[in-house]
Amino acid sequence: MTRPDSLFRRTALFLAGASALLAGCAAAPSRDDPFEPWNRAMYEVHQVVDGNLVKPIAEAYVKATPEPIRTGVSNFFGNIDDLFTGINNVLEGRGDQAGDDFGRVLLNSTFGFLGVLDLASMVGINKDKKDFGITFGKWGAPQGPYFFVPLFGPTTVRDGTGTVVRFFLSPIGHINEIPLRNSLYAIGYVDTRAQALSAESVLDTAALDRYRFLRNAYLKNRRYQVYEGKPPPEEDEDAPVPGAVPNPAASSPIK
């Protein structure tokens, strides 16, 4: 979900097409993932394309590029993330946090050479992470069906909509010099993919079924973010040994 600007347009088209196709699909059991057979097929497509093309590029990028440069690249795109985090904190009515976010953007964009240096973190202005999907969720929008989109990853109708909104607002999209703009899209994509490499290796080792493990983790994490770290308990018919399920609400320190 981090920063796949380069794929937003394609994703939007894809989602529209997919939903049309899916209307005819047989319903699968899961409430969150009604189109599981379709999504699993898309996951396989992703594995092939990503494994043969994108992942090798990301690995080569990590190998060939010294760490300080990669950090600078990540910071540059992270600075744009901060901008959207600030916007979303405003939309969620969290002015105090938004002040920090915009302060970060201001400092890093100027003295930090367009965000390449994360000076704000060095002086202790903490980074936050928000996106339109979370904001829509806080406004009460349901997440809608889950989708796995090849070369893009897990999303839901709500989160995908947020991603499309961000794509059209992204400052990179407003760069008129097309080769520069496209290069930034490409570098941003590779940077995002490279950052996911280590998490992916954890997934590979940990999951019995990677598709399902990723989906469940994604949905839980998004829910957690929408509820600001205090999600109400879900109905859980498998609730095991009594007293074993931790109750986060009871002892949660207010952030």
Partner: protein, 204 residues
């Protein structure tokens, strides 16, 4: 007030004699000590940073694993299926699940070198035997990731039975995995699936 203080003072030496060194350590203090110890080990050791599998496994087995209750983690991940398993199956499941978790940690551990941990104040009453220890991991250039440990008091000190990373409970995530495998191929099928998974290479 005075009476409780006196009683505490009286009991203190007894507690020290009766228990191993860290048994009385508060859960948040334990998490902090173990985490800092592991991070320091990684930072100090080039082999660990380079991903030497034998050394990493040893580090986890000696420093991390003793503070987890793998039997309870397995029982929780099994949910209602736990009771349907025989004691022998339960033993095998616990062994395989532990191996899987240790392998997962092994693959991930070298990524933690540049992390710093923040420890949040513990919200618990003195008599509690089940608490959540909240921490936050910060990596350079990234928003902090909350990591919570569900911990229970045992005769051997506090032990973690679940880890919740950014709202994703390890145990709950595995419950879905286990449930599906058991539905299609039974408890023995799950033991076999785990064992096969554990025989594969640790993804790098």
């Amino acid at each position: 007030m005075l009476r409780t203080t006196a009683a505490t003072l009286l009991l203190l030496p007894l507690a020290l004699i009766a228990s191993p060194v860290h048994a009385q350590e508060a859960p948040d203090a334990l998490v902090k000590r173990v985490a800092e110890d592991v991070l320091a080990s990684i930072r100090a050791d080039k082999d660990l940073q380079a991903g030497n599998p034998a050394k990493i496994k040893q580090l986890i087995e000696t420093k991390l694993a003793p503070h987890f209750d793998f039997a309870r983690m397995t029982a929780l991940a099994m949910g209602k299926n736990w009771r349907a398993a025989t004691p022998e199956q339960q033993k095998q499941l616990t062994e395989q699940f532990k191996t899987l978790l240790v392998r997962t940690y092994s693959g991930a551990l070298t990524n933690y070198r540049d992390n710093t941990m923040n420890y949040k104040p513990l919200r618990a009453n003195p008599g509690d035997t089940d608490v959540i220890v909240r921490t936050e991991v910060t990596r350079p250039g990234q928003a902090p990731v909350p990591i919570d440990y569900s911990m229970e008091k045992t005769p051997e000190g506090w032990k973690a039975y679940d880890v919740i990373v950014a709202g994703v409970s390890l145990v709950t995530n595995y419950r879905d995995e286990f449930n599906d495998v058991i539905k299609s191929s039974g408890v023995d099928g799950l033991i076999k699936t785990l064992a096969d998974k554990n025989k594969g290479p640790v993804a790098k």
